[in-house]
């Protein structure tokens, strides 16, 4: 399987890697927020991605509107779902031993996936809106992936701007640094938790919405996203939000590189081995950050 | 041969030096005190010695053997025991099980010693009670005798007097003296100055992670730098 690496192939790897990486970064940012603010490990994050995809699919079926433009609607809907989940269930395990939040979110993820399976069956759905690629200078730029990249970059930039410049965003960052200090500063921590979970769900949903145009939609599609989001956070450093950006792009690049040399099945193994290796060598991630 | 030698130990957290180039030596069969204002790095130093935290630089020798870098469980097995600032008994194990769990060797023998220990601190009737249900003082005692179950040569006590009433405290201090008479070495972190002055033969003072003074309690009390550290200029 020794392949001579031409500049063209490398270029393709970089391009494809960045396109995928932006999506990873955006979704992982959501997970990082939940972990950073509430110290909850949200295994149900992947199913949120899946719900976003289904949301886009049904909106497109119902209205025929450009699926990229219905993104805000899907995000808003899943924002509310996230709020509901946090308000009803997750808040009870914030501050509890991590075991509880792990098992709770695991249960929620199983329930969500199977609910969707029952409601919509596991038949593959697709949103056939945009297909094909642009060829620019010998590199193939997948059209849907490129548009998705633009949207993902936009949403992520907005998210970071929100975190950095708005009052609520700063409150979120303050709470993730120290809950006690935030309380003392008069921040309504419970409301911040609600907001964060909703925001994270919206980010996941937007990932799913963009994916809807690229891959086949089925109930189990989200679970690999939970795992990969964790990998991104570990690569970039837990609690380190810009790290999620770097981690996402890095994961995208590494996967594309691996796919040159390995079959697609084995590239799953690559992500896994990478996670274990990084956790062993530098548990605080490549960019440093808080450990669990 | 000194029991414990701490050489040039440093540990920082993101740019802030919690412990900075601290050195001292402990001789066997003596009681030492470690004092300093809040945040001076005492517990961090304990954690570095016992292996619960990695030190950034420096060496620690226990009976002439390098122990820096060893796993915490290995260090404990070599003969260093410690208690914690915030009590860490195992809440869903009974008082007796808390003591049993640190022992090796025949179980019957360990149970006998465990019950003896509980008798020693007058808790024998609570042997089968979940440690989490005990009062603060009772938990403190369980944690104390748990350390003794492994027969340690060096004992690190982190604020043994905190939250403990006078009678109990006297019993504890008498026990510590007995341990010293048995040839063990004790280093205690303490805020209660009466305890330190009454019990310790030598006192080390930390301020902002650095050792600023070392000597018998009487001299330390009068030391200007120490007074400054506690009360400011």
């Amino acid at each position: 399987m020794a392949v001579a690496l031409t500049p063209a192939m490398l270029g393709q790897v970089v391009v494809s890697g960045l396109l995928a990486g932006a999506l990873y970064a955006m979704v992982a940012l959501g997970l990082a927020l939940i972990f950073g603010v509430m110290r909850v490990i949200n295994i149900a994050h992947g199913p949120m991605v899946m719900l976003g995809a289904y949301g886009t699919y049904f909106l497109w079926q119902a209205t025929g509107v450009n699926p990229f433009l219905t993104l805000p609607v899907t995000m808003a809907a899943l924002f509310v779902v996230g709020l509901a989940l946090q308000r009803a269930l997750v808040f009870r395990v914030v501050g509890a031993p991590e075991l509880s939040s792990l098992l709770l979110t695991f249960g929620i993820s199983i329930a969500l996936v199977n609910l969707v399976q029952l409601a919509f069956t596991s038949n593959l759905r697709t949103v056939e809106y945009l297909t094909g690629s642009w060829i620019i200078g010998g590199l193939a730029l997948s059209k849907p992936r490129f548009i998705a990249f633009l949207f993902a970059a936009g949403v992520t930039a907005l998210a970071f701007a929100f975190l950095k410049f708005t009052r609520l965003g700063k409150a979120i960052r303050a709470t993730s640094q120290s809950r006690e200090v935030a309380l003392v500063c008069g921040i309504n921590v419970a409301r911040i938790h609600l907001l964060t979970f909703g925001l994270a769900s919206a980010l996941a949903a937007s990932g799913g919405a963009l994916l809807a145009v690229i891959v086949a939609i089925q109930p189990e599609m989200g679970s690999v996203w939970t795992f990969k989001s964790f990998l991104v956070i570990v690569l970039g450093g837990a609690g380190n939000y810009p790290g999620a950006l770097l981690g996402g792009l890095l994961l995208g690049l590494i996967e594309q590189l691996a796919s040159l040399f390995l079959t697609t099945q084995l590239s799953e193994v690559v992500a896994y081995v990478l996670l274990v290796l990084v956790l062993l060598v530098r548990p605080t991630g490549l960019l440093g950050g808080r450990s669990a | 041969m000194s029991m414990l030698t701490v050489e040039d130990v440093s540990r920082s957290f993101g740019g802030v030096a919690a412990v900075h180039r601290v050195s001292f030596a402990l001789e066997p069969g003596r009681i030492y005190g470690l004092i300093g204002p809040n945040g001076s790095g005492k517990t961090t130093l304990f954690n570095c010695i016992t292996g619960l935290e990695r030190m950034d630089s420096g060496h620690v020798r226990f009976k002439d053997q390098r122990i820096d870098g060893l796993k915490a469980s290995r260090i404990a097995q070599l003969g260093i025991g410690r208690t914690f600032q915030v009590i860490r008994v195992f809440p869903e194990l009974t008082a007796l099980e808390n003591l049993l769990v640190v022992t090796r060797g025949p179980r019957a023998e360990a149970e006998r010693r465990g019950r003896q220990m509980l008798e020693f601190v007058k808790l024998e009737r609570l042997a089968g009670e979940y440690a989490g249900n005990l009062s603060y003082g009772q938990q403190k005692l369980v944690e104390f005798v748990r350390v003794l179950m492994t027969d340690p040569a060096l004992i690190l006590l982190d604020e043994p007097a905190a939250g403990v009433n006078r009678t109990l405290l006297n019993d504890l201090l008498a026990a510590v003296s007995r341990l010293r008479d048995e040839g063990r070495t004790i280093l205690l972190v303490e805020h209660d100055m009466k305890v330190v002055m009454g019990l310790c033969e030598t006192v080390f003072v930390l301020d902002h992670g650095e050792k600023i003074a070392e000597g018998p309690p009487g001299l330390i009390q009068a030391d200007e730098r120490v007074i400054e550290a506690y009360f400011g200029r």
């Binding site: 075991l99 695991f106 996936v113 609910l115 570990v234 548990p283 450990s291 | 619960l52 410690r82 860490r88």
Partner: protein, 309 residues
């Protein structure tokens, strides 16, 4: 106390005797169902050993079931092994996998370990598909026909009993106490001289053997396996909900959970097929929030029952 103890032992002996005699007059369905319950007792009980006692949640535990199934099936088809030996080999294969995975992953703190285990299942499924020549890949592996459901019934029953007995021995030993300290306060445990890594690894290996053997037995019983049938997430979910419901960290909790949830599953399946995974997810949520110690754990606390319940 010996009065109560004697009564319990007598009751156990009675149940055991009834189960031994059952295949003689039981229906085909009844025997298969009981065999399934035995399997779940073995699986749930094994999961309890690592996750219930040490608090390290293993989300990928079905991997051991699958690897046992494949190891057993491959030995039967290509090397002509008898199924009892192949079953033991399945257990060994699972233990080897546990060592390979556990050695790096158990050094991680609890939550990170859980995340690492999340991906394990998918990785194994991918690897099985990759090594097609050996495993038959996606098309699966067929075993030579053999009706051994009655002997397998007994072996699976023995496995369930063995796992439960092992749990009892562990919980009453200092080894078990030390495992529990990992759950209670891992840092304090280390500071007290307990080598938590070795203990976790030991529990992990022990917890893999049962599923490995059960996997191989199931492969023989079904006569055909494919990646999706022996590595389904649903198996892990069921293991988890059984232990959580019955009472994690107890001896009989997994048994209670296995019986109760299997019955629920059969009842629900009869009326509403495919609903039970959703139900299990919901039960996990409810148990974690309302009854985190499970049924037996709650009783243990309320009525101050001994830990060997």
């Amino acid at each position: 106390m010996t009065g109560a103890r004697g009564a319990v032992l007598a009751a156990l002996a009675l149940v055991a005797a009834a189960l031994c005699v059952y295949p003689v007059f039981g229906t085909g369905y009844g025997i298969r169902a009981t065999l399934q319950v035995f399997m779940w007792i073995a699986l749930a009980g094994s999961w309890n050993l690592i996750s219930g006692l040490t608090g390290y949640v293993s989300f990928g535990h079905v991997a051991f079931f699958g690897i046992g199934a494949y190891a057993g099936a491959i030995l039967i088809t290509t090397a002509g092994w008898s199924w009892p030996l192949a079953a033991l080999a399945g257990g060994v294969a699972a233990c080897v996998l546990a060592l390979l995975i556990g050695y790096p992953c158990l050094r991680l703190k609890g939550p990170y370990f859980a995340i690492a285990m999340l991906g394990l299942n998918e990785v194994l499924r991918a690897l099985v598909s990759y090594f097609e020549g050996l495993t038959g890949g996606g098309s699966g592996l067929s075993l030579p026909t053999l009706d051994a459901s009655t002997p397998i019934y007994y072996v699976m029953g023995a496995l369930a009993a063995a796992v439960t007995a092992m749990t009892y021995l562990i919980i009453t030993s200092r080894f078990g106490l030390r495992l529990m300290t990992i759950r209670e306060d891992e840092i304090a445990a280390e500071a007290m001289g307990i080598d938590t890594f070795r203990h976790k690894l030991g529990a992990f290996l022990l917890s893999a053997a049962g599923p490995g053997i059960a996997g191989a037995l199931t492969a023989r019983d079904q006569g055909y396996i494919e990646p999706i049938s022996v590595f389904p997430l649903a198996v892990t979910v069921t293991m988890i909900v059984m232990v959580l419901f019955g009472g994690k960290g107890t001896v009989w909790g997994p048994v209670l959970g296995a019986v109760a949830l299997f019955v629920i599953q059969e009842i629900v399946w009869a009326r509403y097929p495919y609903v039970h995974p959703l139900l299990f997810g919901a039960i996990i949520v409810v148990v974690v929030l309302a009854m985190p110690r499970g049924v037996l754990g709650l009783l243990q606390l309320r009525y101050r029952l001994p830990r060997t319940i």
